[in-house]
């Protein structure tokens, strides 16, 4: 192994790590706000990528119908709740169930975007409302259940979504056209434009999320909910809306990651799971609560993957997933475990 190979591997590792990092951020966000270990996070990646691929192929993606069906179902559920005298926040309900899905359907079916940006935004518009809709249908009724129950629901949801993915996209993979065909030569190291896009977008998202959580009232409300749900509620923060918002962000981040990786690799309906799982390993390194540690963990996983694929390609997954054992051991020694406030 010489210096150039090491640099190339490092570059590959950082690009993979960037996608893992986005996954880890979304998982930490959803877990800290709603206590859901969101296994289907990977499906957002695959669905986002495949939706984009179908749009590029000039077909109407099945995810649009899924979105419209879930929106209609959510409207019915909310109407029934309203009937039963539960206070329903109609503004947010209408945004998630009518405004955004309607806009997505309008763009995809009527405008039929032909530009890269148009299609990417259509794909994001289809994917983002799926988050809050899934939250309202699957998780909100169980908001007070244990983490284990929520995890079981989340595994079930993963199974349902993978099945739907096979139905929508078929068994074969897709690859989308790259955002950038640029090829640079930085000091003898060939760098592809797409990998720069991945790193750029990831850094931008991380910075935006930092600003959002540190400097906006909504972000602070989300953090407050994450720290103490009951306390946040007493302070007048609508915790259910926090759930909506965190799932919407998770879906958006997932879909963006999907758009980022789709030009670099072939995406299948079930590709998401392994990507999500690696994000999960990274999130575990951060104890499912710390964003900076999760980011560091994601880069570590990415680099470990690319270097182990060079040295011992047959054992790559073994090496990556074995990493979780010493990390858990170390964390269990070092962190003060706080029981869930039930």
């Amino acid at each position: 192994m010489d210096g150039q190979i090491a640099l190339l591997l490092g570059q590959d590792g950082i690009v993979n790590g960037a996608v893992n990092a986005l996954m880890a951020l979304a998982l930490v966000l959803v877990f800290s706000v709603t206590r859901v270990i969101f296994i289907p996070q990977g499906e957002f990646v695959a669905f986002g990528a495949l939706t984009m691929a179908l749009l590029q192929a000039g077909r109407t993606p099945g995810t649009l119908w899924l979105l419209l069906a879930l929106a209609a179902l959510t409207l019915v559920v909310e109407a029934v709740r309203h009937q039963r005298g539960v206070a329903v926040d109609w503004t947010s309900t209408l945004i998630w169930t009518v405004a955004l899905p309607g806009l997505a359907a309008f763009i995809v079916l009527v405008l039929v975007p032909a530009s890269m940006i148009g299609r990417a935004s259509a794909a994001l518009l289809i994917m983002t409302p799926l988050g809050p809709l899934l939250y309202r249908l699957a998780f909100r009724p169980l908001a007070h259940a244990t983490v284990l129950t929520l995890l079981i629901v989340s595994v079930a949801l993963h199974g349902v979504l993978v099945g739907l993915g096979l139905l929508f996209f078929g068994a074969e993979g897709f690859r989308t056209t790259a955002f950038s065909d640029l090829r640079l030569d930085l000091g003898g190291i060939p760098v592809s434009g797409q990998s720069l896009v991945v790193m750029g977008v990831t850094s931008l998202l991380v910075i935006l999320m930092f600003l959002f959580f540190e400097h906006t009232i909504v972000g602070k409300a989300l953090r407050a909910t994450a720290m103490n749900r009951v306390g946040a509620r007493l302070m007048g923060i609508p915790t259910e809306l926090s759930g909506d918002l965190s799932f919407a962000l998770a879906a958006l981040i997932g879909a963006i990651s999907g758009l980022l990786i789709a030009p670099m690799t072939t995406v299948y309906y079930d590709t998401g799971f392994l990507i999500g799982l690696k994000g999960f390993v990274a999130a575990i390194i951060g104890g499912l609560t710390s964003y900076p540690l999760a980011l560091a963990g994601a880069l570590l996983v990415g680099l470990l993957e690319s270097f182990s694929s060079f040295w011992a390609s047959a054992f790559k997954e073994v090496i990556v997933f074995t990493l979780i054992i010493p990390v858990l051991w170390w964390r269990s020694l070092n962190s003060h475990h706080v029981e869930d406030e039930e």
Binding site: I5, D12, N16, V19, I261, D270, S309
Partner: protein, 381 residues
Amino acid sequence: MTFKRTLPLLAALVVATMAHADINVGVTLSATGPAASLGIPEKNTIALMPPTIDGQKINYIVLDDASDTTAAVTNTRKLINEYKVDVILGSTITPNSLAMIDVVAEAQTPMISMAASARIVEPQDAKKRWVFKTPQNDIMMSMAIADHMANSGVKTVGFIGFSDAYGEGWYQEFSKIAALKNLQIIANERYNRTDTSVTGQALKIVAAKPDAVLIAASGTPAVLPQRALKERGYAGKLYQTHGVANNDFLRVGGKDVEGTLLPSGPVLVAAQLPANHPVKESSQEYIAKYEKAYGAGSVSTFGGHAWDAGKLMQAAVGPALKKAKPGTVEFRIALRDALENVREVAGAHGVFNMSATDHLGLDQRARVMVKIEGGVWKYQP
């Protein structure tokens, strides 16, 4: 989908007609899960099989094993115990087929697998005598590749394959033949179907500078290493295995897979075969039937393996019916014996001649070399 819907109906039918002793054919396929791209055309092909053989009505019971070994075994038990099948077709992939052997041998039910590995039928023993298979052995395909490499002046070879039974099996077979042909394997790498990057492996192979690279993977995941190698400036010859011989590989691969060489069953290029090729007619018969039902250009080589399994079964049912009634153990034994005596049966992929030691029965007529040129498969005489 239509099959799933008709399943309860079929089940009712089976129970209702059991008394008439129709022949029950149990099928377990990987129509979902990672091997779905192989299992779906196979399932489509089962629907094209004849409803009667020698005047005897055939009931096809099709179950999906989701590319899962446990599910394949459960399906097999279900087919044997609940549906009382006379023969089992399946499964799609090697791990599933290997796991099913114990079950069918115990129940004395012949099984025709559509999975590739030679280990399914070799070496023949008390259990495997119940098992037959239709896809070409890896060793036949390895030989075709090694021959082609040696004839075109290749001296050193890099190998990258799936880190599972497929990649490992290919490495075993290919390294044996490579030694005979004086080909030196100077890089040996593995990757997973689901990997999103193989940069590390590609770098290692490029650094070793082999004359040719063999990629032992199946379906569209086989595009990934080829693209990574091109990206890293690899300019030598690229060989793939017959596991990639479907049109999705061309769609996903695009210009990156141009010039790739691979061995394949003749069905892939049936129209380009010379008129005197022994498999041309039987291949085209299958293609015509499949495309009539599912649209032009929809046919794939994987469905052809299911078609050949059906052909073998059809050839064996006649002699077996002379010896015993369907639904009895005697019939199943007769069917197994008849399968072993199949002679010169031409299918989509080749001409079958079974024997007590050879439960595949294919020969050199079952493989051709193919090159990808201008985005289509081109027969290499």
